[in-house]
Symmetry: C2
Subunit: 252 residues, 2 copies
DNA sequence: TGCTTAACTTGATTCACATCAAGGCGTAGG
DNA sequence: CCTACGCCTTGATGTGAATCAAGTTAAGCA
């Protein structure tokens, strides 16, 4: 069972502080939304065996960088990360934010090279899933194979949503849509859907949504004035979810 | 030369006119860029067995529609298709163009429902690959599993490219980038990289790139005036590829 | 504790592209 | 053959968000 104890007792120590350092998928409170989803408990055990849990990343530390050899995909255990690409002229494009239970790094599969960089927006812990092991395991576990195909497909549909957002929606709509998306993701983890702290800066938000910081800031002010949200720096409180949905104008 | 005889001898007839109606992967001239890529010839045979080749779609016919049950992914054999989503307020977002050898429909895997619609921009033939069969086959053929993971990952990285294009680049840059992309895809099929016919309308281009028809048209005029491209309705000739790359401003 | 720098907000101005409007051209159908 | 419609182009005008410019608040650090 023991995977890579550097020295004695590490595993035992980890078990003791399991609230911030989960040691296995079976006991992880994210397992219903993460990769183990839809696996039998014995299968979860097998998956568990290939997963490597490393020490948390500090804020601004990289999990991987664009161009790095692709070895693994990662599940977020705690904290938040952003994925981004750097264009040749040095500008940055944020391609996604990753919350606990979400998987990142799949864009590296196609070329065996990470197509984007990932850095921690705050202290963050991840589970590393070596891809070759995952591939082998998938061959023997149809439900895992299926689930991983679905995860990749989900990434595609989410990218398409962002594409539509960028090409068809106004600044107000984009920001509102992001707030709704974040709210939903908190709710999925049984956290408040109406009060939360944004882990990313205004710059990151603008960057993700194809807007400037100034515009993002103005939209927040506008939402505040309309009593749709209370915005106190990174603390968000959604006062009128219905109005927010109307503002996002995405339908349902 | 006769193409789709309904009655006897269909297979034999097809073999005779294999240049426009490929009957198997082994003899398909697209097999080096399509799904069979990286498969052994005996494995290609197995893949071949699950693939269904149906009669061509006419222009504007749908291959599948958003919301349809997901059963299969498709490889383009000839012609071109566009994938698009319809937003709740009725507008359309083109999410991709698919040329011969390219795979579409993977966005349906996540929900067992097609997340976008696909329609033929001109007469087009496809190979239907039933997904459950593909899954089973993948379990037994590591190289196929790997290749399909890579295809999905490629779709992700390409969507990310479009995201960056939409959020960071000017109208000129977007159109130039699309022309380069199309040029590359023709070249991959050993066709001219500098002279080709655009299968899609200006509306579709605008829709894909988040621009209006008028803007697309103006960019084409500008390119023509600068002697970067000759544009005669849908006929394109790239006169100065280097200048086009500079205009796209994507670096290499 | 105060200093320094990063992150955010707000206002004034500019600009790229959308919108509105009209005319040209190629193709299908009577 | 002519008419009609879809598709494309070009011009004039409007506008949402970018840019430029300050100032404020929050946060790291000596």
């Amino acid at each position: 069972m023991t995977i890579h104890l550097a020295e004695s007792g590490e595993n035992a120590a980890l078990k003791q502080c399991s609230h911030d350092y989960q040691v296995n998928c079976s006991s992880c409170r994210l397992n219903s939304i993460c990769l183990p989803l839809a696996l039998e408990s014995e299968d979860i055990q097998l998956l568990d065996n290939i997963i490597q849990r490393s020490k948390p990343l500090q804020k601004n530390q990289h999990l991987y960088r664009e161009g790095d050899d692709f070895q693994s995909v990662y599940a977020v255990r705690s904290g938040t990360l952003k994925a981004y690409k750097t264009t040749d002229d040095g500008r940055e494009q944020v391609t996604g934010f990753y919350f606990p239970g979400e998987i990142l790094g799949m864009d590296g599969i196609s070329n065996n090279t990470h197509a984007s960089s990932a850095k921690a927006l705050e202290t963050a812990a991840t589970c590393e899933i070596p891809f070759t092991s995952l591939e082998k395991l998938s061959s023997h576990m149809p439900s895992l194979q299926r689930h991983f195909f679905q995860l990749m497909s989900r990434e595609i549909t989410e990218d398409q949503l962002l594409i539509t957002l960028l090409s068809k929606n106004s600044a107000d709509e984009r920001v509102a849509a992001l707030m709704l998306s974040i709210s939903t993701r908190y709710a999925r983890r049984k956290l408040s859907a109406t009060q939360f702290r944004l882990p990313m800066s205004r710059v990151d938000i603008g960057n993700y949504l194809g807007l400037t910081v100034e515009t993002v800031s103005r939209v927040f002010s506008r939402m505040q004035k309309l009593d749709i949200m209370r915005v106190d720096n990174k603390e968000i409180e959604i006062l009128d979810p219905e109005a927010l949905r109307r503002m996002a104008n995405l339908g349902r």
